[in-house]
Each structure stands twice: as C-alpha cells, then as structure tokens.
Assembly symmetry: none
DNA sequence: GCCACAATCAGACCAAAGTCGAAGGCCTGA
DNA sequence: TCAGGCCTTCGACTTTGGTCTGATTGTGGC
C-alpha cells in the first residue's frame, strides 16, 4: 500500500458508520473515507470513485434486499473488494455472501480491532474473493449468470415493482424490461415472476417454511 | 437533574455501545455509563446500580427473546426507564414495546443528535408518545380479514403457483380462483400478486428479521 | 322466513406478464 | 479488419393476471 487507501462505508445506521469511520481513520491515517446509506448512494459513490480500495457493506440497507445487492455491486464493479459487515451469523448467509463474491465477512459483534485487522488483510491482498469454485446446483449459482442490467431489473422485481415502474426507474422501455425478465426467468429456472421473487427473496431469507392454510 | 445522570447501555454490538457511550458522555458530562451485552449482564448491572436513570436497550440481544425481555426487566426494575434502541421499524414491534412499558423507542437509523435528544427528554420525565402513535393498520391486521378459502389460495400463491394450478389443487374453476385473488389483493391493500406474495412471506417468516442488527 | 355472507362460476374486458425475432453497439480473437 | 459472441434495446404477438357484472347455491343467525 504505497498511497493512503480509500474506503467506502455503506450502512444505514449513522452510529455504525461513524464508529467504522473513526476506527479506520485511526488505523489508516490519511485514508479517504466515503459514506453511503442506501444501495443507490453506494452506486453513486463507486461511480465517482471507481478506485475505491475496499467497500464495507452492510447487508440490511434500503435497496439491498439481502444478498442480491452484493451480486448487483459485484457485477457492476468487479474490481472493488467487498467486505460484508453484517449482524447475520447464519452460516448460509455467510457462505452465500462468499458465493456472490464478497472478499470477507465480518460479524458486527466483532471488536473494532478485529474489523480493522480484516480490512488491512483485504488491502494487502491476503484475502480475496474465492474463485467461483464448483458450487452445487444452487439458486445462487444460477443467479450468478445474470448481467448487471438483469440484476437491476431483478432487484426491482423483488421490491414488487411492475414492469412499467422498472422501465421508468431504469430509463428504458417496457419492452426492454420484459425481455430482461424473460431472460431472468430462464436463467433462474423458474416459470413466473412470482416464483423468481420467491427464490430471490430466499437468498435474504433462508429457511422459508411454506405457509399452512 | 441535580447530579450527573447514570446510564446503562445494553447492546451486543461493541460498535453501537461505543458510539452511544461517547455520544452520551459528550452530551451529559460526568455521566456514569455502564455497559451490558446480554440480558444477564443487564440484570447484574441493575442489581448493582438500581438508581440508573435510563436503560438504553437493544431488542436483539442474547437472552432477550424479542420483546419478552422488556417485560421481564420492567417487572424486576419498574422504576428504571427503558429506552428501546432497535433497528426494527415494524409498527407492531414498536407498539408492543410501548405496551410492555418502554418509555421511548428510537430507531437505530436515527442520528446521534436525535438519540441524545430523546434520552434527554426521558431524563426530564417527558415520556412522550412516538410519532408512530397513530399506527397504520398492519399487514397482519389486514390479513386477518381473509376467509379460510382465501387463505388456501394465498398459501398456494406464496408457493409460486399460477391461478390454473391453484384451481386444480383446490378443485375449483380458474374463474373462482381469480375472484378470490381479486378479493385477497384488495383486503391486503396491494396492487399485484407479486406484492401480495412479498408481504405475506414477510409475515409468515419472522426469521427474516433477526438478520437485522 | 329473511338476511348476510362465503363460495362458486361465466363472460367480457383491459392491463400486465411473458415470448419471439431482430437490430445496433461493443469487445475479442482470428 | 472482420467475424462472432454478448449485452442491450425494442416492437409485435400471445398468454396470464386481474376487474367487473351478474348469477346460483348453501350456511348460519336473528
């Protein structure tokens, strides 16, 4: 690390942001630190500063919808290492975070020293996104085939948006959105938008028991 | 407030604890600040210092089991005002927190200034009603209006079934299913099948919430 | 008996979802 | 440089979803 590193801290809780920022500022003097509270702000910040050395990402942020946000960011900015900072300790969440290309996973219950240490390790390249090893036939594997634009469409589908709304938000025609949806459904191996939403939400919500009438 | 106040901060995340402690330390110079990471530690701390002026309590802590921890603490130490600090924004959680005797409810997304302000208000004896005093009808409330057959239809919708499949499984015509779906959507206050599935799955799976810090 | 309501269905109708084919832009390797 | 592949875009078309009107049947309560 020749020059001072630059960080992007993404968390919707000001407390957490401040705590991380001050800890990183002390551990890495002169470091550039940007903040984001929503997925949209993360994207905007990465657009402005594509050379960010590490993104500290909270999973529970507006617009993230769980793990789908990681995949979206990874497909848009594959160079930026993502360090997931989450309170979720479920092994399946951790594993899927890695499947989607996270460089590290830090439990929010960890001490600031541990967090700083992990960040440093990522900066040194000691920890990197594990290669897309042979994964079981999981939904995550199928989902990894989606293109950036398709992820954007899926992210909005998951929020319950209709094709028309998605088209407006993405600035494209409704026909385009429909085409993307068609490809998404085929790649995910489902037959309808509703099933796609259920599966994709399952990424953020493991252990989904069917409702009994 | 003649003397400096004493606080007990209960949160299992060191980051949050430190952030709250430093904010309160600055806002209330000379204040006594104790920490706790589990329900047991909260009880021990209150045993040692029954004159605590305010307990800042996180809902998602080991041993808390959600809102029942509030009731337990209230029954053991009725004089200690409890300020719930949680990431859960669900109206029902907020409402129940008040039902169990919380003096205030702070969203973790709030700024430190807001938090300090709320704590100060509680110290002054202002147990003020939350902005969410007029709670909107919850999804669960709306869902309770469904008839048994409508529940069956919704259960199959949640599994991703199409109207035709639902009709076959229930042994009725597709027109009937459509009629039910129309009523379900209206009762749930959503505009599409996909939105209904999203809402209903969020209701049936509270396991989705523990992911939040 | 009367009333309210759940459940069933038909037919018409409009909106949304989804499929198919095709065009243009961009990158890469021959 | 050109061919081939991929992403993105879109229009035209088909299918499904959802609403509305209206109707029949059965059930339980007053």
């Amino acid at each position: 690390m020749v020059t001072a590193p630059s960080f992007l801290i993404a968390d919707d809780h000001p407390m957490v942001r401040d705590a991380l920022a001050s800890a990183l500022g002390q551990a890495f003097p002169g470091a550039g630190i940007a903040m984001a509270a929503t997925l949209g702000q993360v994207q905007a910040a990465l657009e402005r500063e594509p050379e960010t050395d590490a993104l500290l990402l909270d999973l529970d942020m507006p617009g993230m919808e769980g793990l789908t946000g990681i995949a979206l960011l990874r497909s848009e900015y594959p160079i930026v290492p993502i360090i997931v900072v989450s309170a979720a300790r479920e092994p399946i969440v951790v594993r899927r975070a890695y499947e989607f290309g996270a460089s590290a996973y830090i439990d929010k219950s960890a001490s600031l020293e541990e967090i700083v240490g992990t960040v440093g390790a990522v900066l040194e390249g000691e920890i990197f996104a594990p290669p897309e090893a042979e994964l079981p036939d999981s939904f995550a594997q199928r989902a990894a085939q989606l293109t950036p634009q398709q992820w954007r469409v899926l992210a909005l589908m998951i929020q319950g948006d209709q094709n028309k709304q998605i088209a407006h938000k993405l600035g494209v025609g409704e026909a385009t959105v429909k085409a993307h949806v068609t490809v998404i459904l085929r790649k995910l191996g489902v037959r309808s938008r509703t099933q796609a939403v259920i599966e994709a939400r399952g990424l953020a919500i493991p252990a989904a028991e069917p409702v009994r009438p």
